[in-house]
Each structure stands twice: as structure tokens, then as C-alpha cells.
Amino acid sequence: MSLSLRKIIFVFALFLLASCNSENKKDPYQNLDRRDRIRLMQYMQEGRRLYTLYCANCHQPDGTGLARLYPPLRNSDYMKANKTSVICGIKYGQKGPITVNGIEFNQIMPPVPNITDLEIAEIATYIYTEFADTTQIITLNDVRVILDQCAANDSLAIKK
């Protein structure tokens, strides 16, 4: 390989790197202090893994849902307005009709048995950060407070 070809490849690689960087969104966590930032990144990492394991089959890896069968999480008005139901639903499942962005869905969401409160916090943080543009961590404590309210929720697939 001649020297000039190497140079061209090098410049091309640089160019690629630069274009990658410019595609990155503005850092959504810039307002957080260093400790919270690291914690959020940990939650997001674990949350993404758990989302792929438990949620993405139906809601799709990019959160867009499937037709009128499985509702979208991305830009979902239901998710923004019903945090309690969403978090209770991850643990206990959900049934009955719901309306998301003007479309009615009515498919049973199965519960995730044996899921820990921390795992719910990680999933919730992931979906609200990734799909709902929230930049706030949903902590273990937040989840515990919300799960205590679940008993009153009629739409749970499994009553507590």
C-alpha cells in the first residue's frame, strides 16, 4: 500500500470520527453533578439490558411498539401521564384497554415475576430517559413509594 493511500485512509477515518461526534445528541445529563451523572449512567446501562430482556420483544428495541397490538413507549403521552401505572405494570403486569397517543390498545402485559425493585428503577429510568426525554433518575426509593400505591390500581394483571 503506498504512502499516499494510507494518508487518504487516515483522513477518511478522521472524517468518520468527526461525523460520528457531530451526530451525538447534546448531552442530556449536563445539569447533573458528577455523582448523579455516574449513577444515571449505571442505571441506563443496566436499564437498557433489562429492557432488552423483558420489554423489547413487544415494545421493540427502539420503543416504537407494534401496530395497534403493543403500544409505543417512545413519545408516549400515556407514559408521561401515568408513571404510577407504568411502574406498577412492570412488576404486576397490566390488563384492560389503555389509550396511547389517541390509539386504543388492549393486550395483556404479563408481569415480570421475581423482578427486584432496583431492576424496576433501572428499567423505569431507562425508558423515561430514552423514550420520554426525562433526564431525572427514577431512584429505588421512588419506585418503592410508587409500588406501595399499586394495591389501589385496578388495571394490574396480577393483584398485589
Binding site: C58, Q60, L66, R68, L69, Y70, Q107, P110
Partner: protein, 211 residues
């Protein structure tokens, strides 16, 4: 360097031309002697899908006649399945979107939980998925009958398993069936690249029936 590039191009060309091959005929084969112009000759009897009769999401009887002169893609699923079925349906929908306007191609999804998946449940499911009954039949029927056709004809597993989420253990396979009821391909319906292969193979199979 130049020689190796040449070889690579040559290989590419060769692999392109092999696209014209036909699909294999899968399943156990039997050989028997058949009468032929007064004498007898040996003939190969291929594995075929047996006679069946199920009910689809519009309460229509679905039998082999429904698929006369059609090729079709078959799979096994259930509507309340939390694991691989949604992925399979996402993938099958891709195939449907590519071939739904072709009158020679149909789809057949068997419910392996026919007690829960009644006609009404399947109707709702199909309607929400946004697919047409005459192209994509979701069928229910007698459980044993669905399980046995799965195992004996389509050669896929389908059993109840209380340890499995949702209570059923089943294969995520898509099967490509030709107009003579023979299996021409088996694809992992949970893997997008395998489903790409299926879409390509459908085109190859359709070629066989061109006059």
C-alpha cells in the same frame, strides 16, 4: 494484491450466478415403485403436510384447499406469549408487507393455545396487527391436532411446559411450504437476517411456478 483482488471478484461472480439454484425439498423421503407405462419405475415420495382443518379469525374453515396453488409461510405462536412470539410477529409482518399483494403467497399462523385463543381473540389480534384475513390466516382448533401437525408435518416442537414463561415451549421457526405441500425452507423467525433469507427464498420458489 492484484491477483487476489481478481480472485475475489471471480468468487463474487460465481456466488452471484449460483442464485439461480432451486430450494431443497426437506423432510424424510421414501422410495417406492410406481406403475409407469406398463412397467414399474422407482419414484421418490417427498414429505408433505398432511390434511388439516382449522378455523381462522373470521370463523372460516381453513384446509389444504385454502392453500391450493399457493405457497405459504407457516408458524406456531399464541397471542398471550411474552417471549419470542412478538418478535416472530414483528418479523412475519415484514414478510407480509413484502408479499401481501402477491396472490400466490399466503400466511398461516397456528395458535398452540387454542383454548385461550378463540376466534374472537384471534380476530382482535389480526385486526390490531392490521393484516387481511384472506392473506394471513390465524387458526385455532383442537389442541392435539395442532400439536401433532406441528410435530409430524411441519417438524417443529410445540408442547405445554409450565416452567416456560407463558406456559408453552415452542419453536420460533417459519416454514416455507410449496404448492405441492412440501417444506422448502425452515427459518429462525426471531432473527431478522434469517427472515431476509426467507423473503429471498420466496422469490426463488415463485420462480419455479412461472410458466
Amino acid at each position: 494484491m492484484r491477483i487476489s483482488a481478481f480472485v475475489v471478484i471471480l468468487l463474487l461472480l460465481i456466488s452471484c450466478s449460483s442464485k439461480n439454484t432451486t430450494l431443497p425439498i426437506l423432510g424424510p423421503k421414501q422410495f417406492s415403485n410406481v406403475g409407469f407405462e406398463g412397467g414399474i419405475k422407482a419414484d421418490t415420495i417427498y414429505h408433505t403436510i398432511r390434511d388439516f382443518s382449522f378455523v381462522d379469525q373470521d370463523s372460516n374453515m381453513v384446509t389444504n384447499e385454502t392453500f391450493r396453488d399457493k405457497i405459504y409461510v407457516a408458524d406456531f405462536f399464541f397471542t398471550s406469549c411474552p417471549t419470542i412470539c412478538p418478535i416472530m410477529k414483528t418479523q412475519m409482518l415484514r414478510v407480509y408487507q413484502k408479499y401481501s399483494e402477491n396472490p400466490e403467497v399466503k400466511f398461516l399462523s397456528h395458535s398452540i393455545d387454542p383454548e385461550f385463543d378463540t376466534v374472537a381473540v384471534l380476530h382482535d389480534f389480526a385486526e390490531r396487527l392490521g393484516v387481511r384475513t384472506e392473506v394471513w390466516h390465524f387458526v385455532t382448533g383442537i389442541k392435539d391436532s395442532i400439536y401433532s401437525i406441528g410435530q409430524e408435518s411441519y417438524m417443529v416442537t410445540a408442547t405445554t411446559d409450565p416452567n416456560e414463561p407463558g406456559g408453552y415451549l415452542h419453536s420460533g421457526a417459519f416454514l416455507l411450504i410449496d404448492k405441492q405441500r412440501r417444506i422448502r425452507g425452515i427459518y429462525d423467525g426471531t432473527k431478522p437476517d434469517k427472515v431476509d433469507l426467507l423473503m429471498n427464498d420466496i422469490a426463488i420458489l415463485l420462480e419455479e411456478y412461472k410458466p
